[in-house]
């Protein structure tokens, strides 16, 4: 096992290097750079920029150097914990991202737990009561959540909550609590503001989860050992939870790999619509304006988390299901 983990960790290094090269070159692919975007934006609003100043900025940030050189400067910096400079914010990337990170983690964690809380009971119910009215009804609801465009649902809820409860629109707290230390009022405000994003983001996730849990569980429920257990008079709850449910959780564990990066990136589109102070909008904005070190560092961060997440889920799968064997590298 230890050997397997060591092997996986070593394999992660070339993987990440490859990803970093891909990320860098793909961000560089569209013609132009941040400064051209910047000039175009100012010009559209009637502002003018001194071309000399832009030339100076390009030199300042090394944009006159060849691509390869800039790539290695960037990767080299990252290894030393320097993620480069965000042109848009004119700040080091770490400072730009830092503040938003914990709010993102908060929203995403609550959302994920909320998704599980809904999806699990429904999935189990649907599987055990296959083709019943309850099964159809709940599945329909779940699919409805999947089918509704998230941003639309967010907008509708935003409007209704504002009209019904007078809640302020968007963001993760009322304006007066920004920069304030945590207090009961601030906490309440944050909980209120979290309701919409959590509902919207989880509705999208539940349907998939319900379907997968239902399908996996149905497979297990028809297996011989379950039938035998029931026949021998094992209580129905135990006969459901002890083995079949455990066996049908493989997909869930395998998902952990993608959950880790999701915790950090959040649901971008919803976050933009709701103007949440999470990292998602930051990433999209950075990509749009070719603020490349900010965007690049972000994507690298997500890639790293994915690699770690997949490792964790592989290990967890092995622990959960003895049928899965770790044979990293040794094959016959």
């Amino acid at each position: 096992m230890l050997r397997y983990i060591a092997y996986r960790l070593l394999a992660a290094i070339p993987t990440l290097l490859l990803i970093s090269a891909l990320v860098f070159f793909i961000i560089e692919l569209p013609p132009g750079d941040y400064f051209e975007t910047y000039v175009a934006e100012l010009q559209a609003q009637g502002e003018t920029v001194d071309p000399q100043k832009i030339e100076y900025l390009k030199q300042e940030y090394g944009f006159d150097k060849p691509l390869i050189e800039r790539y290695f400067t960037w990767v080299g910096g990252m290894l030393q914990g320097d993620f480069g400079y965000s042109f848009e914010y004119e700040l080091p990337v770490s400072e730009v991202v830092g503040n938003r990170l914990w709010l993102t983690v908060l929203v995403s964690t609550v959302t994920i737990i909320f998704t599980w809380l809904i999806a699990f009971p429904i999935g189990i119910y649907s599987a055990t009561h296959q083709y019943s009215w309850g099964d159809y009804g709940l599945t329909f609801l779940g699919l409805l959540g999947l089918a509704t465009p998230n941003f639309l649902l967010a907008l509708i809820l935003l409007y209704l909550f504002n009209v019904w409860f007078g809640m302020s629109i968007g963001h993760l707290m009322d304006a007066e609590f920004i920069d304030q230390p945590m207090s009961w009022a601030k906490f309440v405000s944050m909980v209120e503001h979290m309701i919409i994003p959590v509902i919207v983001i989880s509705t999208a996730g539940t349907a998939g989860m319900i379907r997968r849990l239902r399908a996996n569980l149905l497979d297990e429920l028809q297996k011989q050992y379950v039938v035998t257990a029931r026949a021998k008079g094992v209580p129905p709850m135990k006969a459901l939870i002890k083995y079949p449910l455990r066996m049908s959780l493989n997909f869930f564990i395998a998902d952990i790999g993608s959950i880790l990066p999701a915790v950090i990136s959040g649901a971008e589109v919803v976050a933009i619509v709701l103007s949440l102070e999470t990292t998602g909008p930051l990433l999209i904005r950075a990509l749009q304006s070719q603020d490349m070190y900010l965007a690049g560092s972000f994507l690298m961060f997500l890639a790293t988390l994915t690699v770690i997440g997949v490792l964790i889920s592989d290990i967890a799968l092995a622990l959960l299901d003895p049928r899965i064997r770790l044979q990293g590298g040794r094959r016959r």
């Binding site: 175009a40 609003q45 009637g46 100076y56 504002n162 629109i169 304006a175």
Partner: protein, 631 residues
């Protein structure tokens, strides 16, 4: 001797009246405790000896009282420059009639259009209480503009006349002079600009970041502490005044930023040393704090409609009007409609430098440009998208500008499809079997319009596609990213692009007519010709059209003109060529901009012009005179 007396002595202004107002006015309540505790001098000593007394009567404003917080919504971190624009404290600034008046300066004198003598207000201080003197001008000119490291590109273009910089003199502590060998009419407007030319920066603060003044080891420590690459980068970041991200940078604006980025909300507090007073001698600004909440641009109309902003126009569009009106009663605000200050809401810009030789020849033919303009049914666009409240017009200056003449507005702007068709027939664009016209080389006349704007532009373009289709031209709109479009027209790939019209719809003769002539590569009509002049012939192409050459010559004449009458004459010639030659095809102008104003907020004009230049959005209406009435 007290500090005050010392100051009076050195300034040599003992004979000057102490204050232009008699009665001692109230201290702003938010500063009272600091003054009583002795942390801050009383208002009398914070104000310049001769503050700027804002003429409330002439501006139709009511005197108010201090206090309150003004909340506004912005969409990203870069928007904090709006505070510099709204604050609009300038060496000289435009007033509501668009005349130049001294603001930070006590007065200024211009001789022969080339010798500029500026006198400062005695006792004027930076927001940190340090005196504001000629040294700040000297430092900026000698140690920033002319420092090889700090200004690697050299002196900024507006400070050069025929490539020559001015001679700068410090006459005395409070007087400076800039002398050029030839007139420089751009100088004063550049100081009054919404994005101003900063000729005075706080020397006492910035010297600690300058290699010439700071001790090497101190500077090294500061560079390391701030994660900067070297002192040049550090100085540049710390000195940025237009985008006031450095809360420590002393300012002369009414409010100063107190929040270091990144933040979700920026808090601007009153500058206790601000130089303007109301007629009763109360120090402005009235409002203690301005808050900029950062939201995404898309939900700003919704947030404004639910009462989250006290004063909002940015990110609101005319089509938000009904929605905003609905929320007005419930959330206690008023929606006013100001006039948009651009020369045309949506303008079609043929690229005279397009690569395709056949299209280039067509665009160079004035008959073709006129035909396109004549075929646009402007009144229909007005009715469809602007409730008939806008003004069908060519792209030119607006009524209200001293340069306005109806003939500019009406030049080739009437709807006359027959005449347009006749013009195209005359050029020799034959109609083919299905009614589509063909180019002289036999290809079908297919015109691609590139746009990067929002709904408004694509909506209007839908109609324009129809109009030009009736002329037998197949028109294809194509949306793209703004920067892509810009790059494409410079490389000659773009045939026609969509922009808003002239940015200075309310131009005065003293403003540079640079939008009417090829001066820069960012102009959609003639990017290569503009680049040619911009780079002094290093890049781009030589102007081919005599009319455009004429515009370029006229602009050069303007740049060395010495009085307003001459400038007015030049402007009129340029406008007349520009509109008669239809270098851009305007649609409608004077569209309405919703401005949301909290009911209790006083002194915000009912009618105004909304534009970046020259009015600096709210700037010339003086947000420092806005106040909250709590009854």
């Amino acid at each position: 001797m007290s500090r005050r007396a010392l100051l009076l002595g050195t300034a040599g202004v003992l004979a000057m009246p102490r204050l232009a107002v008699a009665a001692p006015a109230d201290e702003p309540p938010s500063l009272k405790s600091a003054v009583e505790a002795g942390d801050m001098p009383p208002m009398r000593d914070r104000l310049p000896l001769v503050p700027r007394v804002v003429d409330f009567e002439q501006r139709g404003k009511a005197e108010g009282r201090h206090g309150g917080r003004l909340s506004m919504l912005m969409s990203d971190a870069k928007d904090i420059r709006m505070m510099t624009i709204y604050g609009y404290s300038r060496m000289v600034g435009f007033d509501e009639k668009l005349d130049l008046v001294a603001d930070i300066l006590l007065d200024y004198q211009v001789e022969e259009g080339r010798i500029f003598t500026f006198r400062l207000r005695p006792g004027h201080r930076w927001s940190d209480g340090h005196p504001f003197t000629a040294e700040d001008f000297r430092y900026t000119w000698e140690d920033v503009e002319n420092d090889e490291a700090l200004s690697r590109g050299g002196v900024s273009a507006v400070m050069l006349v025929d490539g020559e910089p001015p001679v700068f003199e410090v006459v005395d502590d409070l007087t400076v002079r800039y002398t050029w060998p030839r007139p420089n009419p751009q100088f004063l407007p550049s100081l009054a600009g919404a994005s101003p030319n900063y000729i005075a920066q706080p020397a006492h603060y910035l010297k600690q970041f300058h290699a010439k003044y700071a001790a090497a080891e101190d500077l090294e420590r500061l560079v390391a502490e701030n994660n900067s690459r070297d002192w040049v980068a550090l100085h540049t970041v710390k000195a940025r005044a237009y985008r006031p991200e450095n809360p420590d940078l002393p300012t002369l604006e009414p409010w100063m930023n107190t929040t270091p980025p990144p933040a979700e909300r920026y808090i601007f507090k009153r500058n206790p040393y601000f130089h303007r007073v109301d007629p009763s001698g109360r120090q402005l600004p009235y409002v203690d704090e301005v808050y900029f909440g950062i939201s995404s641009a898309d939900i700003i109309p919704a947030k404004t409609g639910s009462g989250d902003s006290d004063l909002q126009a940015r990110y609101l569009r005319f089509d938000n009007y009904t929605f905003l009106k609905q929320g007005a009663a419930a959330h206690d605000f008023d929606v006013r409609l100001w006039k948009d200050g651009t020369g045309s809401q949506v303008a079609y810009v043929p690229n005279l430098n397009v690569n395709d030789p056949v299209w280039r020849a067509l665009f160079h033919d004035v008959r073709f440009r006129r035909a396109l303009s004549l075929a646009v049914h402007r009144e229909e666009i007005n009715q469809q998208f602007y409730f008939g409240l806008a003004n069908p017009a060519a792209n030119c200056v607006l009524p209200g500008s001293p340069l306005y003449k109806p003939e500019y507005e009406q030049a080739w702007a009437a709807y006359d499809p027959d005449r347009a068709n006749a013009l195209l027939d005359e050029i020799g664009l034959e109609r083919g079997r299905y009614g589509w016209r063909h180019l002289p080389d036999g290809r079908r006349a297919e015109l691609i319009i590139e746009l990067a704007g929002g709904n408004e532009e694509s909506d209007v373009t839908q109609l324009v596609v129809e109009y030009w289709g009736k002329l037998g031209l197949r028109v294809f709109p194509r949306s793209m990213q703004l920067d892509n479009m810009r790059r494409r027209f410079l490389s000659g790939d773009t045939m026609m692009s969509v922009w808003s019209g002239l940015n200075i719809g309310y131009a005065t003769p003293d403003m540079p007519p640079e939008e009417l002539a090829p001066v820069s590569s960012v102009q959609g009509s003639w990017p290569k010709w503009g680049q040619f002049l911009e780079t002094g012939g290093m890049a781009g192409e030589k102007i081919e059209l005599p009319e455009v050459q004429r515009l370029a010559d006229l602009f050069q004449q303007w740049r060395v003109s010495s009085d307003t009458a001459e400038r007015r004459a030049i402007w009129h010639q340029m406008l007349s060529i520009f509109t008669d030659q239809v270098f851009t095809i305007g649609t409608i102008n004077g569209a309405l901009q919703p401005v949301v104003v909290r009911n209790s907020l006083r002194n915000v004009p009912d009618k105004g012009i909304y534009a970046f230049s020259p009015v600096a959005y709210f700037g010339v209406y003086m947000p420092d005179t806005f106040w909250f009435d709590r009854e």
